[in-house]
């Protein structure tokens, strides 16, 4: 994608005007995004009294107390781990199921392909609120409320339609000849998945893994409803509880915000290439 863009630039007419007003405007817009986050991070590193005295300057006293208090007294460390486990498990299951299904839909003569694809696409149109009540009742019947298995199941089910659709499109790009050659050499389904589809589709798989991880990590509603027990809480509901309880202690809440945002920010910093690729799927067909 990056190289195409560069070609486009050279082709485009450049008016020869100075670009600095546009650059300045972009810096301003970027600041409206960066500054609130900068403010949150800075606030999280100072005591409450120091914040109330001069909220906008640099902290008069730097401290990690807010983070330590959240971990020791409010179980945010445990919640962080819980979220990490649930998100990782969901992504792993989604990747396996969706790549197997995606490969079959892209390369094998599956009976009813059209109907199956239509099913995956149409369930993507279901608005989230519609699912809350039936899924809660179903999981209660299955004794899966208050278990991580229940949450993982919901994340897998809600993630799979897009994942399968995405991987079907992305595996379509693997040349038939390569797969055919492997078959002639006697490779079976699993062997082909592992030795050809996995390496050749790695870029699509990475994009999907990052997107699905973000989705699971950031999810709030099901995490809140399905895990009512405080000691088992996931990170986002725990953050919501802390945010509600400590209205007067901005630095403490800011520390919670930064802990929750840290993982997505790290992913964006190191995997922005994959995230941006995933974004393109929505528009260009």
């Amino acid at each position: 994608m990056a190289d195409e863009d560069d070609v486009v630039i050279s082709k485009r007419i450049s008016s020869g005007r100075a670009h600095w007003p546009i650059f300045a405007a972009l810096v301003f817009v970027a600041a409206t995004i960066i500054y609130p986050l900068y403010f949150v991070i800075l606030t999280s590193l100072r005591p409450n009294a120091d914040y109330l005295q001069s909220p906008f300057g640099l902290p008069g006293e730097w401290t990690f107390d807010n983070y330590l208090r959240l971990i020791e007294d409010y179980g945010i460390g445990q919640a962080f781990l819980n979220s990490l486990i649930v998100s990782t498990a969901s992504v792993a299951i989604i990747l396996v199921l969706a790549s197997v299904a995606g490969y079959a839909l892209a390369k094998l003569p599956v009976p009813g392909t059209k109907l199956i694809t239509a099913t995956f696409v149409s369930v993507m149109l279901i608005p989230g609120p519609v699912l809350i009540i039936p899924i809660y009742v179903m999981l209660a019947r299955l004794d899966l409320v208050s278990t991580y298995a229940g949450v993982v199941l919901v994340y897998v089910a809600t993630g799979l339609p897009f994942a399968t659709f995405f991987l079907t499109l992305s595996f379509r790009g693997i040349p038939d000849e390569v797969i055919e050659a492997a078959r002639i050499d006697g490779a079976g389904f699993i062997r082909i998945m592992w030795s050809i589809v996995r390496p050749m589709g790695s870029s699509g798989l990475a994009t999907l893994a990052v997107l699905q991880f973000l989705g699971a990590w950031n999810e709030l509603i099901f995490a809140y409803i399905l895990i009512p027990k405080e000691s088992m809480r996931l990170l986002t509901p725990q953050l919501a509880t802390i945010g509600e309880r400590f209205l007067t202690d901005q630095p403490l809440v800011s520390a919670g915000l930064f802990i929750t945002a840290s993982v997505p920010l790290i992913l964006l910093a190191f995997a922005s290439k994959y995230i941006m690729q995933g974004l393109q799927v929505g528009v260009s067909r």
Partner: protein, 314 residues
């Protein structure tokens, strides 16, 4: 989220696969391939049907009953009648309409940013990543960040204090509370949508711009007569996802920022589904509201698709 365009690509996704490879093979292998293919698709399909498609049917069933989740008493349309005559539901629907103000705001902001990015000044790719940043954050993070910023001790009131203005209680008044949720929505959404619009801009044939430039069209004229008409389609798409989002996905923001209050002043339909389901003893009522919301969104999607003629290329 990307549903409308995805829907139009169903055909693209399902048409290609089978044809090319198959005929060359003898019947036995082909039959085996069909079986393996089916087995490979089955786990994903079963989970999706069981925990996405079936719940919709189940919600429809629940909506006709009075239930606590264990015992179901069939009540026909009682839940629907009660909802449609409930003044709180009317108020909440009107509140939801107020949130539509965010749609033109976020599109306008996105449009400006996309046009700026399209100029490809030095470092535009880094700006692209920065503008995408709110999109990787949880609704919980964004919502609480904004509630904090506009809270009594928050940054905004502290800044007002520097000018000698008394702290404002933004969240005790319905209108200001809605305004702040809208600000959060715009902040969270404009960057991603700017990138969607940028993709639309990039697909305009550069020759059109060159021709216009040769004819002496200025920057503003090019923007108004060439750029905007050429991205109608993407603009329409962005408009639709925003409207749908307003009716179906504000739950998180409302939940962490105002909990629907003061009173029901910031309660949206999707939040009311949650409230009726988990704070009353009758799940049927919540399910009925969810079904109504589903139908409403469905009709809205069809109408908007017609209006913007998304199915056709232009």
């Amino acid at each position: 989220m990307t549903s409308s365009l995805l829907a139009s690509s169903v055909d693209a996704a399902s048409a290609a696969p089978t044809g090319g490879v198959a005929p060359r093979k003898p019947g036995g292998i082909r039959r085996r391939d069909r079986l393996i293919g089916l087995l490979a698709v089955l786990p994903a399909l079963l989970i999706v049907v069981g925990f996405m498609a079936f719940p919709v049917a189940f919600a429809l069933f629940i909506s006709f009953t009075k239930t606590n989740g264990l015992k179901f008493e069939w009540r026909w349309f009682d839940n629907y009648i009660a909802l449609l005559t409930d003044p709180i539901v009317h108020q909440v629907f009107l509140t939801n309409l107020k949130f539509l103000i965010s749609v033109p705001l976020v599109i306008f902001a996105a449009l400006i940013v996309s046009v700026l990015l399209f100029e490809r000044v030095r470092g535009w790719k880094y700006f692209r990543v920065i503008f995408f940043l709110p999109n990787v954050l949880s609704v919980a993070v964004i919502g609480i960040m904004f509630r904090n910023a506009f809270g009594y001790y928050g940054g905004v009131n502290q800044a007002l204090g520097l000018f000698g203005i008394e702290p404002v209680q933004f969240f005790t008044n319905g209108s200001t509370a809605i305004a702040i949720i809208i600000v959060a929505l715009v902040w969270a959404g404009f960057g991603y949508q700017a990138l969607l619009l940028l993709a639309g801009l990039t697909s305009i044939n550069p020759a059109v711009f060159e021709a216009a430039a040769i004819d002496g069209a200025g920057w503003w004229q090019r923007l108004w007569y060439i750029t905007l008409p050429n991205i109608r389609r993407v603009l329409g798409f962005v408009f639709i996802i925003n409207v749908l989002y307003t009716f179906s996905s504000l739950f998180g923001f409302v939940f962490v920022m105002t909990a629907g209050g003061p009173g029901f002043d910031t309660t949206t339909i999707d939040y009311l589904v949650y409230l009726t389901a988990f704070s009353s003893t009758n799940l049927g009522s919540g399910a009925a509201l969810a079904v109504i919301l589903f139908l409403f969104i469905g009709i809205l999607t069809v109408i908007q698709n017609r209006v913007f003629k998304l199915g056709k290329e232009d």
